[in-house]
């Protein structure tokens, strides 16, 4: 029966090619626009650490003077609090991080010196965030303890300096120090670059920089601070900085602490631990407030409004656009079905039930949806190609995955069936007697 309906639909669609083409075009354009923005939205609002993010937390305490930080602690930690919390080792894994730009030269490579971003962090970073390695591995806790001059580099930097060859054991000159490469990361592109997300609530929706690539050089926290001393970035300061870029004893927040807590009990314990730490520091007179905060990874991303407001606006716009395309299609389908009132009248007179007519019309709408879905898929590919050409940090992420591809077709068919519902209902109510009379 279904095959027969398909055949009928095909004949009917062929009869008025212009109207059919208009409908297919309308649905394809609507689907193309909404799937392009939906794909970007999906990429930007996704979980950067699927399956693990619920165990990752970002604890914060507040060392700033009273009245300085409003509405909770500042987004990063001062050096002393960060090192105190880290060295207590109360979490399953913990990583300190501090950012800077570093001058890099590879004595073995004939490439001019580069300025690249560097992250000084502790060894748990790689295991906690499941960083993939192409060559070598992370440094060991012993390396970190002995303040060894070692580094992990990104695959991108490895390509630029060593043409993608195994560079483990080679030497890099970072600022004025020689550093041995112990590991080369494989391609790793968390979206967003969650561990560097901060201050999003002050960004006025301009948050596309959160989708930047990971740093190119990773060094053990304490030896990294020595090697690139004088270049570290502060988040904010409430007093005078004696030596800019050397912030260990400055009245500034500039260090991030990420912890992994594998059970709810441990999360509760850690919250109690930082609350206790804040009270103790206030008793010592170092803290003015005892406010703390410990969002989970996903809570922290939401708190920072990571999805750029332009992207959200585009998504709304695309769906309004799809709605207009659907209205358009309802009108065209109505015109198409009612034009065939006489044919429907004959079929009813020959014994087709209202349900059968309704089903036939819906099959026809669905067929438009499938063809429109193919067009929509092609237009989505075109749209994503356009997004990749945009000068935004997340441009290279814009690709269609299998799930979104399936969604494209599902959306096209569902949308056209919805659009077909009302016209099909109208067509099935055609009075056969009246139509036969005027034949």
């Amino acid at each position: 029966m279904f095959a027969y309906y398909l055949d009928l639909a095909l004949r009917s669609l062929k009869r008025n090619k212009v109207l059919t083409a208009l409908m297919v075009l309308a649905i394809a354009v609507g689907i193309g626009a909404s799937m392009t923005t939906l794909t970007v939205m999906h990429l930007l609002s996704g979980d950067p650490l699927p399956g693990r993010s619920q165990h990752i937390f970002y604890p914060q305490v507040d060392a700033s003077p009273a009245g300085y930080a409003k509405g909770g602690p500042l987004d990063m930690l001062d050096y002393r609090s960060a090192v105190d919390l880290w060295s207590a080792h109360r979490a399953d894994r913990q990583a300190l991080l501090a950012g800077s730009d570093v001058k890099v030269r590879a004595p073995d490579a004939r490439v001019p010196p580069l300025m690249v971003p560097m992250l000084a962090t502790t060894s748990d970073f790689f295991a906690m965030f499941k960083v993939p390695f192409r060559y070598g591995s992370a440094w060991t806790a012993a390396d970190a303890a002995s303040r060894a001059r070692v580094a992990v580099i990104s695959s991108n930097l490895n390509d630029r300096l060593f043409g993608g060859a195994d560079s483990v054991g080679k030497t890099l000159r970072l600022k004025d120090s020689d550093v041995r490469i112990v590991g080369v990361m494989d391609a790793w592109r968390p979206s967003p670059l969650f561990y560097d997300v901060r201050a999003g609530r002050f960004a006025e929706g301009q948050t596309s920089s959160f989708y930047d690539k990971p740093e190119d050089v990773f060094m053990p926290f304490f030896s990294g601070l020595e090697v690139n001393d004088g270049n570290f970035w502060q988040f904010t300061c409430w007093g005078n900085v004696a030596t800019p870029g050397h912030l260990q004893d400055a009245p500034c927040v500039w260090v991030g602490l990420w912890v992994q807590l594998d059970s709810a009990a441990k999360v509760a314990d850690y919250r109690a631990f930082i609350a206790h730490y804040a009270q103790q520091q206030k008793a010592l007179g170092r803290f003015a407030t005892t406010q703390t905060r410990m969002p989970s990874l996903m809570q922290w991303l939401v708190f920072n409004h990571v999805v750029p407001s332009d992207v959200k606006l585009q998504t709304w716009l695309a769906f309004a656009f799809l709605a207009i395309c659907l209205f358009n299609m309802i009108g065209l389908l109505l015109a198409k079905f009612l034009r065939r009132s006489s044919e429907i009248g004959v079929r009813r007179a020959l014994g087709a039930s209202r349900g059968a007519i309704f089903a036939q019309c819906l099959v026809e709408a669905g067929m438009v949806g499938v063809v429109g879905g193919i067009g929509g898929w092609l237009l989505t590919l075109l749209g994503l190609w356009l997004v990749r050409r945009q000068p935004v940090e997340y441009a290279d992420l814009a690709h269609l995955d299998i799930g979104m591809l399936g969604l494209t077709f599902a959306l096209a068919v569902v949308a056209s069936l919805m659009a077909g519902f009302l016209p099909a209902l109208r067509a099935s109510r055609v009075a056969p007697a009246l139509q036969l009379k005027t034949l």
Partner: protein, 410 residues
């Protein structure tokens, strides 16, 4: 033109008529808001900088081998750059207008204030107002005796030694008016830190901040007489005639390389590029909105063509009867045009209300201002025009129906 017969016909096609009205309303609402958003972006992209934009170049170098005396290095670089043919003026600066990366200070009017009054950007560097081409409205420019080396000032901050701190500051008119409304700002003191009070000696006409994201705070700008060292990621700003820019840039880079062949050029661009880069997101968004508006209007026009063709086909016999009874081709044409005009008008009226609702939603979620009334007629005229254009084809086909149709198969 008789409207009543048209209305009574439309009453028999309620569903299709409402579909068309709703489509027009939705399109109208979105077009109004999209045009408004484009206007917003264009207004942002037009934000004045207060500097001679077409005459400026920015160069940033990183020294791989730290110079023995970073201040002497900057003085040497600036002297070398001044010698480059075509160069009118040279400045060193910690930041550039619209350059994104910025240095900001929390400004207090009283050293005892816990919470600062506002956050303003602080330009450091020599020869800035003259090179940037920003006009002094009152007071004086910074003089070489005002300047202090950044490192000396930083050390003095630590020790609380006021002698080695700068003592004066330049601010913009906008900032002066915000801090001391209606007063002469010259002589007032601004505190960048509780121990650092700077006397306002000059007022600048206009100078935009590097991080001008919020247009209302874009002119909260100060210039502090601090001399930059070569190890501070500072920029050299060069002013020359617009037509000389390309070769001055090349010659300037060659001159800087000659001072130290090992150094790496990290930034080299004209100010036009700085502006283009700063507003690239706005430009992309405006371009996308133009595309959306065009696509929407086309889709709506196609919808009108489709439905009008259907109606013409459905009413072929009626048209034939009217023609046989004496209606002219023009009457038939006018009939369909008026019908479309009526539908479009109802749609536009609904669309206006919807546009207002969408604007309220955007105001709530995206901090956009209220939609000015001027944007409503834009959407209305666009849709009336599109409607009339789209209906013209089917209406002409209707007018071409011969009266003889009336005699057939009735």
């Amino acid at each position: 033109m008789d409207i009543l017969p048209i209305l009574s016909t439309l009453r028999r096609h309620k569903l299709t008529a409402w579909l068309l009205i709703l489509e027009i309303a939705l399109t109208c609402a979105i077009v109004c808001n999209a045009v408004f958003l484009i206007g917003q972006r264009l207004e942002r992209m037009d934000m004045p900088s207060g500097v001679a934009e077409h005459e400026l170049l920015q160069i940033q170098v990183a020294d791989m081998v730290a110079p023995a005396n970073p201040y002497a290095r900057v003085a040497e670089d600036m002297a070398v750059l001044r010698q480059v043919p075509g160069v009118i003026s040279v400045a060193s600066s910690n930041q550039v207008p619209f350059g994104s990366s910025s240095s900001n200070s929390n400004i207090r009017l009283d050293p005892a204030q816990v919470r600062w009054t506002l956050s303003a950007t602080t330009y450091f560097g020599e020869n800035l107002p003259k090179t940037l081409g920003t006009r002094l409205v009152s007071g004086r420019d910074l003089e070489s005796s005002d300047f202090v080396d950044v490192d000396v000032a930083m050390k003095a901050l630590g020790t609380g030694d006021a002698k080695h701190l700068p003592s004066v500051i330049l601010i913009t008119q906008t900032l002066a008016e915000r801090l001391w409304p209606g007063q002469n700002p010259l002589g007032h003191i601004i505190y960048l830190a509780p121990t650092v009070g700077l006397r306002v000696v000059g007022v600048l006409d206009s100078l935009v901040r590097p991080n001008a994201y919020d247009i209302s705070k874009a002119q909260y700008t100060t210039i502090v007489p601090l001399r930059m060292g070569a190890n501070k990621d500072q920029s050299y700003l060069i002013r020359c005639r617009p037509e000389d820019r390309a070769h001055v840039l090349d010659a300037a880079l060659a001159a800087l390389k000659k001072v130290d062949p090992q150094r790496v050029v990290t930034t080299r661009r004209s100010f036009d590029e700085v502006r283009r880069k700063f507003f690239q997101d706005d430009r992309a968004m405006a371009g996308m909105l133009v595309g959306v508006i065009a696509a929407l209007l086309i889709v709506t026009a196609l919808g009108i063509v489709g439905l009008a063709s259907f109606w013409v086909a459905q009413r072929r016999r009626t048209i034939g009867v009217r023609r046989a009874l004496g209606a002219t081709r023009r009457n038939i044409l006018n009939y369909f045009q008026t019908e479309n005009f009526l539908l479009a008008t109802i749609g536009i009226a609904l669309g206006m209300a919807l546009a207002y609702a969408i604007n309220l939603f955007l105001m709530l979620h995206y901090e956009l201002p209220r939609l000015p009334a001027i944007y409503f007629p834009v959407g209305a005229i666009a849709l009336w025009l599109i409607g009339q254009l789209a209906v013209l084809g089917p209406a002409l086909r209707a007018a071409a129906v011969p009266p003889v149709v009336a005699t057939r198969s009735v």
